[in-house]
Symmetry: C2
């Protein structure tokens, strides 16, 4: 299968390397660290995992890559305005677009640009750190769940999932992609946000403060209410499940906090802004999310202005 | 009138200097900058105002001061655990205690320690900056409103207000002190909090961001609801009044933000924690205040741990 990986950050590098090591013709669009990746290849490490891709099909532009069967979109959503220009050279008649990006809004953007028929999305449950171009360490988890945009799974959905599985990527197929996106936001909205707003602390520090723990729990309930109003039914028992899972994570820093500490732009609109707007439009009251969104947007703006 | 000023920060220095210049026997408890105050005296400046008190009755302990007619409590609420030890030497049979401190809880603390009968409170509407020990500049406003703790005004309330007026301090008498404390919190809770959480920005920057402006407005409504549940009736029209007043303030930094920038402890419990606890106990839902309190408490703890 000919696969383009658009964006060689941690997510793109990790899954792209696995797909390449599994025998696919994988082409990476690499914007920063191109020479390093060309020279050193890719190196993936993790629990029980040590994969090298010495010869990387790395490209500086999508024109050089040309048409692919599958285009994996793995840039930060903060760069989504580039997609209208980046993707067309990769798209043939039967090309599928799979966004592995965070939050809400990317499938709709891709559908508007390239037709809803092509668009799939995936959710990555993985803790990664990219230490250098092409070098990624996986700390925990690793599975992804993929689905169709606005429709149930079809043959190709399962074909891609099988290919991923063959390459050692745990990959599930979800019936309702948007429902699963909301379910993931039930965790990401409070924990990615509070770890920043509370001064740059990890998930264990959130849980050890009764008031921050309460803030996380209540925000989870608020997000579930927002999802339900938008037509995606999540049970409130998801809160206790996710809090329990968080207690097993130890001193975890969500990727947004790591980005913030490194002065990188935050995915404010995908993770907080778009869910807020959709929930408000559906009639939900979202006081905690509104306040968090406003504060994070300001922090991000100040940091990017420096 | 023999008056003790407990705490020679901006508030204590400003009002104490005015009361001294007006002819009262004012004794200052000065903990930092004692030598400077003794040597240079006090200097108050402001629009149409330039007052010097060359000879200051400054003391290092309340034992040296002895009994007074009026004790003005002007330390930060974060030091309130010192009051049980600090105040007794100042208190005679007919001594009145007047706390000019922020937020909720100080009157109750003083009443528990020294009897409810003695306790009065005041609200300061003033923008001050202390540039050195004894040196305070007033930027704006200046009036205070005083009242009795848990009862309507009585003769002494008006006597003190008259004395303040005679010394050039605009001083009103309020019928319901706790109602007025809540009214002030309608502004302090959102603006003192959001200016910190949004990254250290002034009130004009809050107003210029539609999402932060909305966060302030909605938090004001939440505080009003909390006050009403606690039995203190505030109209929701207070929101528009206070937002309008904020628009005239220009690029104002609330004192809490200035403290935060200077690494000083924040009055987390008086301004956010105590109102939250009282409103929740009265059955109000306070989602915005709960989240803000939790985040600010964490920021303050991190800063004080440095």
């Amino acid at each position: 299968m000919r696969i383009a990986i658009v964006g060689a950050g941690a997510i793109g590098t990790y899954y792209g390397a696995k797909l390449a090591a599994g025998g696919n013709d994988v082409c990476f669009l690499v914007r920063t660290g191109f020479e390093t990746v060309k020279e050193n290849g890719l190196h993936i490490t993790g629990p029980d995992e040590d994969i090298r891709v010495p010869q990387v099909n790395a490209y500086r532009s999508t024109n050089e890559i040309g048409k692919c069967d599958l285009v994996v979109v793995a840039i930060k959503t903060t760069s989504n305005d580039l997609l209208a220009e980046l993707l067309p050279p990769l798209i043939g008649d039967r090309t599928t677009l799979l966004t592995l990006q965070n939050g809400l809004g990317s499938e709709e953007l891709l559908a508007g640009l390239f037709g809803t028929e092509r668009v799939m999305g995936g959710l990555c449950f993985i803790c990664l750190r990219r230490s250098a171009p092409g070098v990624v360490h996986r700390y925990d988890y690793g599975h992804i769940n993929i689905g169709e945009h606005g429709r149930p799974p079809r043959d190709r959905t399962r074909t891609f999932a099988n290919e991923f599985q063959k390459c050692g990527i745990k990959c599930g197929v979800v019936d309702d992609l948007m429902l699963e996106r909301w379910r993931k936001l039930v965790w990401n909205i409070p924990f990615n946000g509070l770890t920043i707003l509370a001064g740059g602390i990890d998930t264990a520090a959130i849980l050890s403060d009764p008031d921050l723990d309460e803030a996380a729990v209540q925000l989870m309930h608020e997000v579930i209410d927002g999802a339900n109003r938008c037509g995606f039914q999540l049970e409130s028992s998801a809160v206790e499940e996710q809090m329990k899972r968080t207690r097993t994570m130890g001193q975890y820093k969500p990727s947004t906090l790591v980005d913030f500490e490194n002065g990188k732009p935050l995915e404010i609109e995908a993770i907080w802004g778009e869910p807020l707007r959709r929930a408000l439009a559906a009639g939900a009251g979202m006081p905690r999310l509104q306040q968090m969104y406003a504060a994070l947007k300001s922090l991000d703006r100040l940091e990017q202005a420096q």
